[in-house]
């Protein structure tokens, strides 16, 4: 009863906010005439309805998201398990994969897959690729590999969350290692990891917007296409944002129901929505059952996996089984040796490729990549012409600092019991989190001149966008941190006569901050990687400089892209080391 009253209140507030916004846009004069008809009317110049373009883009976005999610799931599971392997080369390979791809920006990776990777292939394969929609596959596989590295970490954490006793119990009850993994570990681990996995898939969908940079005509690309044809950037960007928001909300709804359906150990509490979705899951459920029955029939028919009775042919069986064990042992050895050889081979190839780089080019341009023309910038350039890596760091730093306060306000606001405060906070957090960063950048870029009547520098435009974006994520970190403080402390503090702000400042926040620190460092790392997106509106940060240098040199794309990938990696990896140390220092256990 209470909850329904609350949601009615929330609904009322949302309606109120929309009404205010509507009135503002209808009557306030921004010196800009909104023209939403551009989306559904036939454009007289081009004889097209641009709304259709967005729908075509949406279809491609969904395709890319689904396929790359599947790739990420497969890669993530394999490498996540491999990271726990006792066999060192496997561990090194998996760790290298996870750390490298997590710590470089997706944009740089996509450039690598699309522009640099094909150079390493024979020309016949290259021509074949180019004839088969290579943009689409480069984006999809690039995205899958990137998300896979995050999934791998989630899978690893999920497996490690299983108590070791289960492993011992499974092994001692006679299961082989694969069977133990298949029947005991993975079913439990997947239940643990489904919530983080869901948000990773959501990120994956949002990240698919980066495919626009290599010419894939997905949703974000189409909205910009409409902008460039009609100069109606605000309308096109808003429409695309709404579509992204809808997509995000439906993905999280599906993930929530899956979560509810898979819950074990306690009684299932299914909502109406869950039951409706459950109806769609039924076919999968029956398909799973069917596969299971077929496998069992197959096994029964061929008597696989059954041991011969010991008393009849004990000697015979023991010889054969001993021989089989020996052969198996050697096979494993051989496989390991082959794996090590391949591993060394790959490392050697990479080392050789790096060795044969034109290092003179890299050394000559390194100062430009780090500082650009600082301190000899021209008139009107920010920070005396500073650019490159140092500008990326500055953008991330300013945005993190400013967004921390936004996060604090909205994170606490979301926890407020007053719906007048909590509803706007929820709206801000969910609308921003439901949209790709690239859309937020376009918003700020197209919206700021409409509101303020002037165009701010792209540097500030990008920094504001990063601040707004990261504020929503920090708000969630703050919320989690504050929720982790036992309620008793708040009650005790209130009972001793402190008011709300005193309770927060003196009791809750000092403790919550400690819990939040590793997550904040994590947010800083992803913010730093995201600064590469400022490339799209021409901020002279590292990725833009790389493009500009590449433009002039033209024949050294490998050198340039590898250098910036390494620069990003060094920064992110050292920060994630710090995060790990902090986590160890502040973790409650």
């Amino acid at each position: 009863m209470r909850s329904s009253k609350r949601s009615a209140q929330q609904f009322g507030i949302i309606a109120g906010i929309s009404l205010i916004l509507y009135v503002i846009f209808k009557h306030a004069d921004f010196g800009y005439q909104f023209y939403w008809g551009v989306l559904y009317e036939v454009n007289p110049t081009y004889k097209e309805i641009f709304g259709y373009w967005l729908l075509r883009g949406l279809q491609l976005t969904i395709e890319i998201s689904l396929i790359s999610t599947a790739i990420a799931l497969v890669l993530g599971t394999i490498f996540g398990i491999a990271r726990l392997s006792a066999f060192k080369p496997t561990y090194y390979l998996a760790t290298g994969y996870v750390e490298f791809f997590r710590n470089t920006p997706l944009l740089v990776q996509l450039f690598f897959w699309y522009f640099a990777f094909p150079l390493a292939l024979p020309s016949t394969i290259r021509i074949f690729l180019n004839e088969h929609n290579f943009e689409f596959w480069a984006a999809t596989i690039g995205l899958g590999v990137y998300t896979g590295s995050f999934v791998a970490e989630i899978v690893r954490a999920g497996i490690q969350a299983i108590p070791h006793g289960h492993v011992e119990a499974a092994l001692s009850s006679g299961l082989s290692r694969t069977k133990m993994l298949r029947f005991v570990i993975l079913p439990q681990a997947f239940r643990v990891i489904i919530p983080p996995l869901g948000s990773e898939f959501l990120n994956n969908m949002k990240n698919s917007s980066l495919a626009m940079t290599i010419g894939v005509a997905e949703l974000c690309w189409q909205s910009q296409q409409i902008e460039s044809f009609t100069f109606r950037g605000f309308e096109a960007t808003s429409a695309a944002s709404l579509i992204y928001l809808g997509l995000s909300l439906s993905i999280s709804a599906v993930m929530n129901t899956i979560n509810h359906h898979l819950k074990i150990g306690q009684e299932k509490q299914l909502t109406v929505l869950d039951r409706i979705f459950g109806f769609f899951f039924k076919p999968f459920y029956f398909a799973g059952k069917l596969v299971f029955i077929i496998v069992r029939l197959f096994k029964q028919t061929f008597r696989l996996g059954e041991y011969a009775p010991v008393h009849e042919e004990a000697l015979y069986a023991s010889i054969w089984s001993r021989l089989a064990a020996v052969i198996w042992k050697w096979l494993v050895y051989a496989a390991k040796i082959i794996f090590v050889c391949l591993f060394i081979g790959v490392v050697f190839l990479i080392a050789y490729a790096v060795y044969s780089f034109n290092w003179a080019v890299i050394w000559k341009n390194l100062p430009a990549l780090l500082f650009w023309t600082f301190p000899h910038g021209g008139a009107g350039e920010i920070f005396f012409g500073l650019g490159g890596l140092s500008l990326s760091i500055i953008i991330a730093g300013i945005a993190l600092f400013a967004s921390f306060f936004i996060g604090l306000v909205f994170g606490l606001g979301r926890l407020s019991r007053n719906p007048m405060i909590s509803t706007p906070s929820i709206l801000y957090i969910e609308i921003i989190r439901g949209n790709p960063l690239i859309m937020v950048i376009f918003w700020v870029y197209f919206f700021s001149p409409i509101v303020t009547g002037m165009q701010i520098d792209v540097f500030w435009s990008a920094t504001i966008a990063f601040t707004i974006f990261s504020g929503a994520y920090l708000a969630e970190i703050v919320r989690a941190g504050v929720s982790a403080i036992p309620n008793g402390q708040i009650e005790a503090a209130t009972a001793s006569g402190l008011n709300y702000f005193q309770v927060m400042r003196k009791v809750v926040l000092p403790q919550a901050l400690k819990i939040m620190i590793p997550a904040i460092v994590g947010q800083f790392i992803s913010l730093f990687k995201d600064t590469s997106l400022a490339y799209i509106i021409g901020v002279f940060e590292l990725t833009t400089i790389a493009q500009t240098l590449n433009n002039r040199l033209m024949i050294f794309p490998f050198e340039i892209y590898t250098t910036i990938a390494v620069l990003y990696f060094i920064c992110c990896y050292s920060m994630s080391m710090v995060a790990r140390q902090l986590e160890n220092k502040y973790s409650p256990s």
Binding site: N130, F231, P449, M454, Q455
Partner: protein, 283 residues
């Protein structure tokens, strides 16, 4: 509750205040005259129009033309005016003008009627046309590109022109076969690695890139569209537009224009592009 209403009212006032005070009133000419600063938008990734050379200096044909125009306007005003260079790309070059971030944009901009709805243009200061660049010896005419992929840059007129050309020649998949990238380097990389059979844009841009690896690329076929470049100017601001137009015409009359032209497109340069047209002159 009361506080909330107060807060909302305050933020309203703030937004309205911001909106009204920052809208610049008066003409660009007066503003430049008063401040002594002209803000010029220039590309940074376009060789040889405007790019960063190996000393990371911002140079090119457009840069020289814009500086010369600014200098002449300053002479007419009777004082030295400072030039502030603002970096532009194909996403920002029109919105920076409409929002007043820059006073003029010298950025490979073809004068188009659709574009003229939101901004104005000076008289044509450079005559270009669209062609297709391809690897040497593979293609001889436009028809050879039917069914093949062509690179272009998103948000440019050459993108639409390339689609129309393929459609006219009977390519059923014209829309799909023209692949749009975000910048010129990406287009050239795609061509270099055979991801596309050709790259189509204004021929001087193509010449600039082809000169990176001499003898490997060639222009195929004739011009298939005229691309008259104009300097982008704020909408409905005729004093300023006159000043820019007169400066361009004066440059042509006293020979400064051809000096700049030959510096970047003359026979001794990597980007040789013979001058065949004439700047529009008003007696």
């Amino acid at each position: 509750m009361k506080r909330l209403i107060q807060g909302v009212a305050l933020s309203f006032c703030f937004i309205l205040l911001l909106g009204t005070t920052l809208c610049f009133a008066g003409t660009t000419y007066d503003k430049v005259n008063k401040d002594g600063v002209v803000r010029i938008g220039l590309m940074y990734n376009s060789i040889p129009a405007a790019y960063f050379n190996d000393k990371n200096e911002w140079v090119g044909f457009d840069v020289d033309i814009a500086e010369e125009v600014a200098k002449r306007i300053g002479q007419e005003m009777g004082k030295e005016i400072k030039v502030e260079r603002v970096k532009l790309n194909n996403k920002t070059r029109i919105s920076f003008l409409t929002s007043g971030r820059i006073d003029m944009s010298t950025a490979n901009m073809t004068h188009k009627r659709e574009r003229d709805r939101t901004i104005d243009f000076s008289i044509t200061y450079f005559f270009d046309g669209q062609k297709i660049l391809a690897k040497k010896g593979l293609y001889t005419k436009h028809e050879d590109f039917v069914g093949k992929k062509i690179a272009s840059m998103q948000g440019t007129t050459s993108e639409k022109n390339a689609i129309n050309l393929l459609k006219k020649l009977g390519d059923a998949n014209a829309e799909k076969n023209v692949i749009s990238f975000q910048d010129e380097p990406s287009c050239f990389l795609a061509l270099q690695q055979d991801k596309v059979a050709g790259w189509s844009t204004d021929s001087t841009i193509l010449l600039g890139y082809a000169a990176k690896e001499p003898g490997k690329y060639e222009l195929v076929g004739d011009f298939f569209s005229d691309e008259p470049y104009g300097i982008g100017l704020p909408e409905n601001d005729s004093d300023w537009r006159d000043a820019v137009n007169f400066a361009i015409q004066d440059m042509w009359t006293d020979g400064t224009y051809m000096n700049i032209y030959n510096k970047w497109y003359g026979p001794d340069t990597l980007y040789y592009f013979p001058m065949t047209e004439k700047i529009e002159m008003w007696p």
